[in-house]
């Protein structure tokens, strides 16, 4: 029924790929590149924005043309301008989807929308992660089997300080003995938010086909029907006659 392609903006802080050789070796064109490529192959209209652009590439005009925003950030969380965070929050409340990847659990925008600290425990020894589909039949799990594996991953560990997800799609098992709610859905205002934990920059996770499938599924799931404000503290007359 939708006629226009979904408009996605991938926001990547895009620092470690330029500054660290080990990361550049994995993602020579930036972590956003394989994601952008896959979404484009599937007919989505993709734009990339980065931290070092004016207003971090997320001007009013840019957001006004964004249906779904994908966010990857890590080293510059605290340097993201509050005015831009305000703007993104407003846009989410009006309907824009937000997909927060990996270390975005600690970004200003994710914490702002959750109301919690976003903290978690972690360990980076390249252990195996097995991602279990908990919500069988969920649109974000389309095309997956009961589980898939990431051979080498950074472990993100419970307790994870997030509100109880409206829908819990994935739970990860780690060889080191931990579990993690790795795929979590939320509604905020008219917008949908999906947190997806895989993705440290030193592993080629964003080239893995199941990961790309999940991000595509999530972008389609988070696409709004319409962008508009919910309400604005209006004083309204009664809809029914009231006795004097």
């Amino acid at each position: 029924m939708m006629t226009n392609p979904v408009r996605v903006t991938i926001w990547n802080e895009y620092r470690s790929e330029r500054e660290r050789e080990d990361v550049r070796a994995v993602y020579p064109d930036g972590m956003h590149a394989p994601i952008a490529g896959f979404l484009r192959q599937n007919g989505l209209d993709v734009r990339v924005a980065t931290f070092d652009e004016p207003e971090h590439g997320l001007t009013e005009a840019a957001l006004a043309e964004t249906d779904v925003l994908i966010w990857w950030g890590y080293t510059v969380h605290e340097q993201v301008a509050d005015a831009v965070v305000d703007r993104i929050q407003q846009r989410v409340l009006q309907g824009m989807g937000l997909i927060a990847l990996h270390s975005a659990h600690y970004s200003k925008i994710f914490r702002r929308l959750m109301g919690t600290s976003g903290s978690l425990n972690w360990r980076d020894v390249g252990e195996k992660e097995r991602i279990w589909v908990i919500a069988q039949g969920h649109p974000i799990a389309r095309g997956l089997g009961d589980y898939f594996e990431i051979p080498h991953s950074e472990a993100y560990c419970e307790p994870f300080d997030i509100p109880p997800p409206d829908e819990l799609v994935f739970v990860s098992w780690y060889a080191g003995g931990d579990v993690f709610r790795s795929g979590c859905c939320y509604r905020r205002g008219r917008g949908k938010v999906f947190y997806f934990s895989p993705g440290d920059q030193v592993y080629p996770i964003y080239f893995q086909k199941e990961i790309l499938q999940v991000i595509l599924n999530a972008a389609l799931w988070a696409t709004p029907n319409a962008i508009k404000p919910i309400t604005s503290m209006e004083r309204l007359p009664a809809l029914e006659d009231l006795e004097p």
Copy 2:
């Protein structure tokens, strides 16, 4: 099993009762007074804090002795110090209960914990409100029948910009033709949050026995097992042996 009384702090901005004759006529001792009285009669240990006290009466020491914080504010929302809001949020994430009353939907702390605007539509013509119990058997509905009525109330109207409640306890019917999610439960970190909408300052709502019963029920429901941090971004060793 609990041996010590629940320690409640009622925070009231306490302005309109002192400045407006019509409000003082209804609540000569402040809106907090009937609530404090009822909770004390039921064995709770109640303290009152107000906006004009140093640090709004919510010092580190005061919060450290608070199990459940009840919040009523309206005219001074924007003047509440951010440092105090930060402190309350931290305490909620560590386990303190929070009961947000009426216009607290627009307070900094409620919006902070929800991640949404908290906006709603409204109308103040003293119409009838009938509060329906949606979650039959919920501890916050203890002692109530299927519904109770407030003869004259300010109408708070959907759409109400909050996350979907973890538990929806009450829905209000208004004579003017609106409905409203008037009793909403949330978890944030280790803490529980309850929003309860009745209570404009010109109506004697906080003297009504069902309203007092709900606030008592909510305070008991929101009482924490323990106050402690969830986690603090710790790097943890593996719990299981990992292959080299």
Copy 3:
């Protein structure tokens, strides 16, 4: 991305339209007719099944070609064969969507899937119903404003004995003083279930454009990615090496 049209089966007990003149006057071709017509106009592949057909028109073969089942029943709930109810339940658990309309709250299949009695209070005096959109931005509310009205409706009243909905989309206001959770989403197995309360047979509700829009939206929302069993109590080998 979907290439084949969604296959909908509308099940209508189809008794009162044939037996009662007042109902026939409103729905001369059956209550299913306006729904089928609207869904077909929107590109869905629609089939109709009725109680008096062999196996109520819901043979294994019929269900095997159904993505979404819409259910309207009232007078024959208890006469629906248990074997057919079993079959529908299995199909829902494997992914088929189910939309339960109006008095279907008391059907065997709805009660089976909910685990509760499905009971409610009611009143049929043709009063006004105003349906509020609670989940702004939800796919089932696509194209609607903040509310819409049904001029004359049967009142369905809380308490409604259903599990807390996974998503609450609509709440109805009634002129007679009641509220009702009129649009409720559930997941059962791989399938999605939507209960939608408007629709007594003596009112022309299924000709109303907002009602038809909701049913279309719900059918699209409930369309499965795939139909397959979740699991079947299998004994599985370990995925990891275990110490002896």
Copy 4:
């Protein structure tokens, strides 16, 4: 505020302890014995009922004196009388708590209340299970740390065919590579239901202190405010004057 002790009935099919030497060696007095002992130590009023008693020990009179029912069954699921299952369901809808242990995921009463198949995958090789607390601060996790371990356990594996829990309290990690939603809360009617997966009969799991603590916590959580029907399909007069 509660004056009378909580009345718990522990239902145990009580077959394998009598028929199999390996089970009798672990639970010489029945699997119910250590649970009953611990709950009594904590002031609860405990009664035991078993499959071979008339009406399985769950007469109308017995249920009328039960606030919380704990259920362990495995080999006789299909032989439990439907009339008794009906009776339990009615009592739950009226407020009685139900705690379903381990293989009770496949009992008639649990499946009846869930509306799903209750199926799962499994493996019994005595591997390590580590139970993570997902809902920090939840009453059922009172007194626990971030996790606890069961040295030898039967693995219950996702996908687990249950409705999305209203509250997810525990997720288990298994050495063999699986995860499982091991502690799940539901509301059905006025009653609360908790599923807790540990407990195969050949391991001394019900002697473990954390397991007993969870069962005690769950019994207190599931204790009803009051036992009464939600509603019974009553025709009600309007609460407000309606225009003719």
